[in-house]
Subunit: 327 residues, 2 copies
DNA sequence: ACAGTTTGTGAAAACGTTTTCAGTAATGGC
DNA sequence: GCCATTACTGAAAACGTTTTCACAAACTGT
C-alpha cells in the first residue's frame, strides 16, 4: 500500500542502500543520486521516521516539560525552543505538568520511552531534588528553576539580584512597609524571596512574607486577604506574572489606587503590564534568550556528554513604571 | 546495552511474544503476567516507542499546527488539545507557522513522515484553498480558520454572528461612525468582517474597513495612522486579541480616552482585557471547548473515516465592558 | 605496470517491537 | 469419555529503514 524505500529502489533501478545513501549523506554518484531523486518524485515517497529512528537510534526529538504553556513566560520560552529545534531538524514534544510531581514523573518516563535526544525541563522543587539520584537516559537542561547544585546544566535568571532590585527600587521611591508574595513550589520563587529578604535586611526593614500556589486565582485570594488587614503593606513584591495579575485584581477589588494606596512590583514584562494604569513595574526576563541558551546547552551536552556541568545565569532588566512611583 | 523486550523475556523465562502481550492487552495468564511485571521492574525495562510504532503502524501522535503559540487564543487551544491527547495516550507535536504557507507545507510534510494519527490545523487562506486537492495521509481537523466548504472537518466560531454582535452593541450604545480593522491572512478575519459589513448595512451606516497583518505591532501602526486622520471613527471593531492590543496602544499614543474619545470592541477575552481601564468589550471564544471539540472530531474521524464531513460551529459570548459604554 | 588507496555499489543483517501462525493444554457440552 | 471449543503460549515473520560487510572499479604515487 504505502510506498517504501524498496519501491523507490525498484523504480530507480538501484538497491535500497543506495536510496538511503542518496537521501542521507552517504557517498553516491551524481548520476544515481539524480535517478533516485526522480524516483522519489515519481513515487511520492515519504520516509518513515519511526523506522529511521529505530534503525539509527536517534530520535531527533526533544522534550519540553513545563508547568503550563498558558503561563506567558513558558509560552515565550517554548517558542524560542521550538524555533531552535526545528532549525536543527528536531521535533518538539510539549508537556504540561501543572506543577504536579506525579505528572512530571510520568512525562520523564514517556521521554525515556521516546528515546528523546534531550529534554528541557522546568521542574518543581520536589522533582528537582529527586533528579540527582535518578539517572535518566538522556541529557536534561533545567530552565527557570534549578536543582541542587551541579547535577544538570541549567539556565536561570539571577533571581536573588532581581528580587533585591525590586526592593531597592521601592525603598528608593520612599516605601518602607514592603511585603512579598511568593510562589510556593519552585526554587525560582525561593531565590527571589531570598533576594527580597537580603535587601529588606540591608535596608533595616522588617520582612513580611506570604506564599501561595503560583496561579492568578490563588494569588488574588491571598492578596485580597492581606490587603484587607489593618496593617497592610504599602508595597508588594510579586514573584511572577500570574501572581502579579492576582495582586492587581485584589487591589482593584479593595478599591486601592496604584501607586497612591499600594505600590506593586513584579516579574515578567508581559504585553499587558504597560497597559494597565499606571503601568506595572516589572523585572523583564530575557525569555527568548533563555530558550535559545537552553537549546545551546543541550546541543553542546549531546556533543560532549562528559563536559562539566554548566549554569548560565542571565540578568533581568527592571522596567520602572507608574505602579511604584514615589510618594 | 539498553534493555529490550528479549531481556525481559529471558528474565521472566517466557517468550518475547508473551512479554508483549502481558504489557499490551493480549491474553496472558495471571501467573505469567506477574512474572513479566516483576521482570520489567527488575530490569528497568522501558518500551521503545519507535519500534512499537514501526511494527504496529500506529504513531499515537497528533500534530498541532498553529500560527504562533504566543497568540493567547492558540495557547489556550493547545492546552486543551494536549490535555485531551495525553488523556488518550497520545503525544502532541507542536508547530508554529507564523502564517507562512511555505512553513505550513513543510510541517504538513513532516506530519506525513511522522505517520501521525491526525492533525489539528489552523491554516492560512492560501493553504486552506490548496488543501482540497492534496490528499494527506492522515485526517485533518481545521480550527479557527476553515477551508472551502466540506473538504475537512472543522470547528470554528460563528464569526459572522460575532462580528455583527459587536456592531449591534456599538450601535445600541449610540455609536454611528464605526470602523473595522481586520487581519489580512485568515478566513476568520474575513468572516468577522462579513458580519461587520452586514450589520453596518442593516443599520444603514457606512462601513470603513482596513486590513493589517495579524500582529500587535502592525495593528498599532495602522490604527495609529487611522486615528491621526481628521475623520477618524468614533468606534473600532478589532478582529482579534493582538489587533485589539495594538489599537489600545494606538489610542493611548494619541491621548484618546476610552470610551469618551474612542470606543473599542474586539475578540478574545484574555485576562488583561478587564484590567485595562475602563475594561475592553470583547467576544469571548470558548477556547477550551474548541480544542476539545477538535480532538473529538479527530478521534471520530479516525474511528470511521468515511463518515460525512462535519463542521462544528460554536458561539462566542459578548462581554460588554467600559470601552463601549454609551455616550 | 604495480600495490595501495579511494569511491561507489549491492546483499544482507540489524534496530526492538507486534502480530501471525501453529500448536498444546484445559474446559465444556453431550 | 469424546469432540469441539477456548485459553494460552512460543517460534518466527514482519514493520521500513540504516549500516555493515564485501567487493569491484577507478584512481593514486612510484
Amino acid at each position: 500500500m504505502t510506498v517504501g524505500i524498496r519501491d523507490v529502489a525498484r523504480a530507480a533501478g538501484v538497491s535500497t542502500a543506495t536510496v538511503s545513501r542518496a537521501l542521507g549523506r552517504g557517498p553516491v554518484s551524481d548520476a544515481l543520486r539524480e535517478q533516485v531523486e526522480a524516483a522519489v518524485r515519481a513515487t511520492g515517497y515519504r520516509p518513515n521516521l519511526s523506522a529511521r529512528r529505530l534503525r539509527s537510534q536517534s530520535a531527533q526529538t526533544i522534550g519540553l516539560i513545563v508547568a503550563d504553556i498558558r503561563n506567558p513566560f513558558f509560552t515565550a520560552v517554548s517558542r524560542a525552543v521550538e524555533d531552535a529545534a526545528f532549525a536543527s531538524g528536531m521535533r518538539v514534544i510539549l508537556c504540561n505538568t501543572d506543577e504536579d510531581p506525579a505528572r512530571e514523573a510520568m512525562y520523564l518516563r514517556l521521554m525515556e520511552e521516546e528515546r528523546v535526544t534531550g529534554v528541557i525541563f522546568a521542574p518543581t522543587q520536589t522533582t528537582a531534588d529527586s533528579l540527582r539520584e535518578t539517572p535518566l537516559g538522556f541529557p536534561v537542561v533545567l530552565i527557570d528553576r534549578t536543582g541542587p547544585a551541579g547535577t544538570h546544566d541549567s539556565v536561570v535568571l539571577d533571581n536573588p539580584a532581581a528580587g533585591a532590585a525590586l526592593v531597592d527600587h521601592l525603598v528608593a521611591q520612599g516605601y518602607r512597609r514592603i511585603g512579598g508574595l511568593f510562589g510556593s513550589t519552585s526554587s525560582t520563587a525561593r531565590e527571589r524571596r531570598a533576594g527580597y529578604e537580603a535587601a529588606i535586611a540591608r535596608h533595616g526593614l522588617t520582612p513580611a512574607i506570604r506564599t501561595v500556589a503560583p496561579n492568578a486565582e490563588a494569588a488574588e485570594a491571598e492578596a485580597g486577604r492581606w490587603l484587607g488587614e489593618t496593617d497592610r503593606p504599602e508595597a508588594l513584591v510579586l514573584s511572577n506574572g500570574l501572581i502579579l495579575m492576582g495582586a492587581v485584581r485584589a487591589a482593584r477589588a479593595h478599591g486601592l489606587a496604584l501607586p497612591r494606596d499600594l505600590a506593586l512590583a513584579g516579574f515578567d514584562n508581559e504585553p499587558w503590564t504597560d497597559l494597565v494604569e499606571p503601568g506595572l513595574t516589572v523585572i523583564e526576563q530575557p525569555v527568548a534568550e533563555i530558550g535559545a541558551q537552553a537549546m545551546r546547552l543541550l546541543f553542546e551536552r549531546i556533543e560532549s556528554p562528559e563536559q562539566p556541568v554548566r549554569k548560565v545565569m542571565l540578568s533581568g532588566r527592571m522596567i520602572a513604571r507608574g505602579s511604584t512611583r514615589g510618594r
